[in-house]
Point group: C2
Chain length 501, copies 2
């Protein structure tokens, strides 16, 4: 009854101020009442173990079939974008409600781009998710898959907020697409998880930025030893792949263009070291590699060839006993299958990813597909494992969307209804070439099919321009294209943003 007292108070309060609009109120007061009058048990202190909710049951033959997409990376989002929402309801399960435009993530660490400019809400990629009654996005992790029952089990993500406990629920699917991606590989090196920062998610970039700015400010404290100053301002990047090189380039660009003015006191102490076991950008052709090496060293990046043995809070140990003190450690040595992928009792690819056939189906089970970094061709296909690249994931998502739309139109849309259907042309990957930026308006573009093939490859300002425009047009929404362009323009005009929020 307490709400009644409350409501009288409200209405009286309102009347005192607004003679008109009374009629509107009783209605809203009733909704108010209906919302809260019956919720006695719900608001006692909640139980500590996860609450089980019903979730979504199987679709009936006369209902719209449901495609469940696990993951919201390049593969999953491209798929959702391409699915025909007249044929299917789409349910996406992911711990983040946006897609990260990974190729530009490195630029956000130093403030060249803003974080939001590289994050695309899923509701904007596939509007049906937020509009269609049967389509949903769930901020949750996939905890298990029952391929016989056609059910996915999920648990909500709550950032450990005390006010919300994780909830469990399950979703029945007609078609399941696993696009979980991969996780950064540490090669079991001790201390990497604890002390290194990866560059996979927006919050990683935020962490890098916060720590970099913190170290810049701490190193300014008068009386601090030279050694400590150098340690704090020593940024170490492990892994000489495109990500590591791009981040090193951005970082040295940030130092050259911004730190020198904004942190004049410490500008001579900040250094970037890129540690790589073999050669940097090994997938690029020799000429480009040499060009990259030259550019990076020119812009002050130290290239060290070495193998990391152990990582401590303030220093790295290399195989040969070298100690490398650091203030910021970024780890980008490639990716591997996640523990969840390991745990799945499904056919696997030679590399331990979820095994798929030429049509990206998971063999031996019905209505299940896997795309992106989490999937690889099974041995019997005789096809090689594709590199963990955005363009592979994007192409697979696009292919699978068309495949599902086609079999959907052909009457194979519901669970277990496409067993004996023809799936048409298998997925064939054609490499369009690789790109990497070096910061300071320089980039590499390698348009060869493979490492050994002949073909175009060029470097310098023009390729930097191509690289930027290429990405600019790939950022999905016009909103973000606009913001990326504006970010680049303001960075060019005013320099990078250094406020630590």
């Amino acid at each position: 009854m307490s709400w009644f007292r409350n409501l009288t108070k409200v209405s009286s309060f309102q009347l005192s101020n607004r003679p008109r609009n009374q009629n509107s109120f009783p209605f809203s007061s009733f909704t108010f009442l209906s919302h809260f009058s019956t919720d006695q048990q719900a608001h006692q202190n909640p139980p500590r173990d996860p609450i089980q909710y019903s979730g979504l049951g199987p679709t009936k033959p006369d209902e719209k079939p449901r495609v469940v997409v696990v993951g919201s990376g390049w593969a999953g989002c491209r798929l959702m974008k391409g699915l025909d929402t007249k044929i299917y309801d789409i349910v996406c399960v992911s711990p983040r409600n946006h897609m990260v435009f990974t190729p530009l993530l490195a630029s956000t660490c130093v403030g060249t781009l803003e974080f939001r400019s590289v994050a695309e809400p899923i509701g904007r990629i596939q509007p049906a998710i937020s509009k269609e009654p049967g389509s949903y996005f769930f901020l949750a992790n996939c905890t298990g898959i029952d391929t016989d029952k056609h059910v996915v089990n999920c648990e909500t993500v709550t950032d450990g907020l005390d006010s919300v406990d994780p909830w469990r629920f399950s979703i029945s699917y007609d078609k399941l697409v696993v696009a979980l991606g991969a996780q950064a590989s540490t090669f079991g090196i001790h201390g990497v998880k604890e002390h290194a920062i990866f560059l996979r998610e927006v919050h990683h970039a935020q962490e890098v930025r916060r720590k970099l700015l913190l170290n810049l400010m701490l190193s300014d404290i008068p009386g601090i030893t030279e050694e400590e100053k150098c340690r704090l301002l020593h940024c170490v990047v492990v892994g000489g792949g495109p990500t590591g090189v791009e981040f090193s380039g951005e970082l040295s660009d940030f130092i050259m263009r911004d730190v020198r003015q904004r942190y004049a006191h410490v500008k001579d102490y900040i250094h970037v070291t890129l540690i790589e076991a073999n050669e940097i950008l090994s997938s690029f052709d020799d000429r480009l590699r040499q060009y990259a090496t030259k550019q990076l060293t020119k812009s002050g990046v130290r290239l060290v060839r070495g193998i990391v043995k152990d990582v401590e809070a303030q220093k790295i140990l290399l195989n040969d006993g070298t100690e490398v003190p650091y203030g910021l450690l970024v780890w980008s040595t490639g990716v591997g299958p996640s523990p969840f992928v390991h745990s799945l009792e499904l056919p696997k690819s030679p590399g331990g990813r979820i095994g798929v056939d030429e049509w990206l189906r998971v063999p031996s089970v019905e209505d299940m597909f896997a795309i992106g970094d989490c999937s690889g061709f099974i041995e019997s296909t005789g096809k090689p494992e594709l590199p963990a690249l955005a363009q592979v994931a994007e192409r697979q998502g696009k292919y699978l969307a068309n495949l599902l739309n086609r079999i959907g139109k052909a009457g194979g849309r519901h669970a277990n209804s496409s067993k004996d259907m023809a799936f048409g042309d298998p997925f064939v990957y054609k490499h369009l070439g690789s790109m990497a930026t070096l910061g300071r308006y320089k980039a590499l573009v390698d348009l060869r099919q493979s490492k050994d093939a002949k073909g175009f490859s060029f470097a310098g300002f023009i390729s930097w321009f191509i690289w930027r425009s290429a990405y600019l047009t790939r950022v999905i929404s016009w909103r973000n294209r606009l913001y990326v362009a504006i970010n680049w323009a303001t960075t060019f005009l005013f320099g990078r943003d250094i406020s630590r929020i």
Copy 2:
């Protein structure tokens, strides 16, 4: 010696790739060496208790005198902007390296504005801080003031990073300006600190945004009870001052314009309730207050008059026993002196702030001034305590900058050298009027000197326009003016950003 091995490795690696540029390397290798070869002890596991660093000693008579500014809010930043850096070195001590443009903070919670658009790096407000050899910004908290020795004690802020321990250091000052601001007052109500979110810093706004989006997504989980859904989507704002009203307005605007499209499934469950013990916007005139009440209720904000007794993780208890379940609780019931201000053994104002005379000097001590929300006139001045408003702080900062420049030019720049000087005109505050936005292109502008005075006051679209332009021109840098304008434009065109990063 380990670095030698490392370096040979580096150089050989480089030579193999770039025949030219060899000469440049030996040099950089030496700097490299000098940086790291001698730091044995520095990189053992660091001690757990704070390291003491020397800091900055007293300035000599022939050196540039030092103004130490504690705090980086409206008062402190306006002061630093106005100080003549030819006369003084400026040292700023604050736990954040930027100024928060507080009047626009509420708009960032729902994505109308981006967080960075309302944060202004101090280096941009006063460039000398990052350029002049004797000027610094220290990311640190002030832990004590020794007014006799003219010394400020500080401890660095490290966000509890395991890799960095807090460091202690002290700074001698010629002039000290305390502009610490105030802290949100909870009136000792249990549970407020634990469960409510204040709206004072950027990270508060980030927290509101993350929680709001989390609740919107959680409430979408199928099978969840009606009650839980309503609780999660019930946003409660306590405090009917401008901040509370502005946030409620923005929130209902967000619900009306964005949630209805982007979260179609739950749009009918989300509600905003504004709880105020007395009347909302009590400082505004009756006509405006009634207009505000009408507008807010029209846009779906429930106005409840009540006094909060206790706050729990999922519900509020009001004095009359009413239980108000909530998913998001924002607390904006005004501010009071911080514990640090309490702890200072200095004359206090009747309201418990740092007491100052008509020239904003702290009586009974030399060369110490206090401005902004942390300061108040001592009783003997016979002047009333000024409201904790941005415009008061801004005016005081401007006044004190001119005062310090003047006595600096007159030879009173060094410590204890301005004892018997004439300080000129005292600080006089003239209220320019109050403004508050209600969301949906509506705002209030009250240009009266005081609550009871006569004067202009108007409401609606025109005042909203005035409000926006007024703030737009006050955002300090052109970069941020640009971003705020762009944010408003894109919000208008594309709606608000809902990616949860």
